[in-house]
Symmetry: C2
Subunit: 339 residues, 2 copies
């Protein structure tokens, strides 16, 4: 298979053009292209150009408004809400980020809720600018049913990722971003495409029986990571991005969705804390590094996000390598409504 090498600018232009062709205005196209480019840059290809097909499907079906203009509301001194007005998440988040950071710097801790958005990106890229602004942050989002509640037999929770970011003085932020399922759905899809069997304990088939066949698991459901503990976390995420902020739980998002393959309407919650206002303004940054040193002292242990930052360095200097097939698909998609 032939590969192509694209610069990050190439990727951004390609994504932006494709989204524009399918009905996004410049603000929305740029915001989505930013997260797609960041994913390709950091080696997270499952959240990169491959997602364009889903974004485009949601625009073409009219489910998502490519001209949406988000509205920001300060609901309380430490609570910012952004109504995405039916657009993709990135522009809504961009609108809420500065008010969130400003609130957290005043009150010490603050929350940002995004409602009426369509979320299809990775959380780490959303957390990173908040951590770069010097704040510790967590974020979570639900989706559509994919994960079984512990003890049950039917998908109810989304794969519900949970992300955490910690600001560092002389390094990019430490960030983890992990699905509540044992394996991310994108990885199962990859296994299906490549014909690999899944390890035990990843998922069940449509009848609720354990299966190692990725195709069967895609028709069935995934298990939460760590048994009932991961299931509890998935449930908390449903409440944080659902009932708490007045948005859909995963099962409600599915009931409402038109099945076009693009992201459903849903909500997201981000919490940011300013460590300078927690009592150890002079010490916290160095103190955290002592913990990181202890982790890195152990052979085989590494800090979350280390691999992404390594990929980033390489992408910034040498661009991103991808198969010509993936590239051609995106090019074709960009012309679909061009004729």
């Amino acid at each position: 298979m032939t590969d192509v090498v694209l610069s990050l600018d190439d990727i951004h232009s390609l994504a932006s053009k494709c989204l524009t062709v399918h009905g996004c205005d410049a603000n929305n196209a740029n915001a989505v292209a930013d997260v797609i480019t960041a994913a390709e840059r950091d080696g997270c290809h499952s959240h990169g150009l491959m997602r364009l097909a889903g974004y485009v499907a949601a625009l073409d079906s009219g489910k998502v408004d490519g001209h949406a203009s988000p509205e920001v509301q300060q609901l309380a001194p430490a609570v910012v809400r952004v109504d995405g007005n039916g657009g993709f998440a990135p522009l809504a988040l961009a609108a809420g980020r500065a008010p969130l950071i400003e609130s957290a710097r005043k009150t010490g801790i603050a929350a940002l809720s995004l409602v009426n958005i369509h979320h299809f990106a990775a959380l780490w890229s959303e957390i990173e600018p908040i951590a770069e602004a010097g704040l510790a942050a967590i974020a979570c989002v639900s989706y559509m049913p994919a994960v079984i509640p512990a003890g049950g037999n039917k998908a109810l929770y989304g794969t519900n990722p949970f992300a955490f970011g910690w600001p560092r003085r002389n390094s990019p932020p430490l960030i983890f971003d992990q699905a509540s399922s044992v394996m991310a759905k994108g990885e199962v899809m990859l296994a299906a495409r490549e014909g690999h069997a899944l390890p035990d304990g990843v998922g069940v088939d449509a009848d609720g029986n354990p299966s190692n066949d990725p195709d069967e698991v895609l028709k069935g459901a995934l298990l939460a990571f760590g048994g009932h503990k991961g299931s509890s976390i998935a449930m908390m995420i449903e409440l944080f991005s659902g009932a708490l902020i007045g948005e859909s739980h995963s099962f409600e998002a599915k009931e409402r969705d038109n099945g076009d393959g693009g992201p459903p309407q849903g909500g997201e919650l981000i919490i940011a804390m300013d460590p300078n206002l927690f009592g150890d303004a002079d010490g916290w940054a160095d103190h955290a590094e002592k913990l990181f040193d202890q982790i890195l002292k152990q052979d085989g242990a590494r800090l979350p996000s280390a691999r992404r930052y390594h990929n980033r360095t390489s992408a910034l200097t040498s661009g991103v390598t991808m198969s010509e097939a993936v590239y051609e698909k995106v090019v074709a998609l960009s012309k679909a409504n061009d004729a």
Copy 2:
């Protein structure tokens, strides 16, 4: 083995007397006796009267000040800090709870940090009154090294429990409280006492090799739940109850501890949110119940805390049954310095 049945008042008096004999003033003795009684009431015996030996050891060695008087400081509009002044956690938490709730009701979200405390209780009993006041809450605390960072081979993180509480209108709050290790250390100790082998994947021996022998694992270390995902959560908890609030990480707590078997000095972080200030004041409570209905509709699935509330009902009417041996140990402990 003969059993004894104690009323909750009996348990509270017994615990309170024991703590007083070993140097607690009435406020501290009552606050600790409250959490011990709550644990016995809800069937969590590993956090009940069995813990008195550890509390007493820490008082006898002079590590913990039984007359400590906590000091409350409002560090920012949404950040409350309580300095426990070297006492046990319960009195510090009791001092910080009302300011935390008040702050969250004003700003929407607020944090409570406890520093200079010695924590030896379960988090669910700390979260419950906050959720009963109508707030959603999370809490986390570190301890001493017991859990291996993913990929490593040596204990670094504490068992680091994470708890979540959600207020309900016609039921007691939904609460989960789970260790970051696959199995709680108390359960491993129970297996050791009863001579049961541990399941695969719970822990390693002192050389870092997988072991099913609870005695070897107690000399070695535990694995985080869900592989690297649970390990990431344990790391986040270290930062939240350590660097963020200016308190020790687990490895620092151990370096400083005198090894008396009682709880080390450490910190705790609690975050509370007022759902009435997140944009769906009229709807959030019923909306969450719809999610809970979906969980309970699945055969075999249950809500976290259901078992505890069931035990509680029985304890309130019929008291708590325990072996005479456990009871006699506590009675003996209560007389230790009496002579």
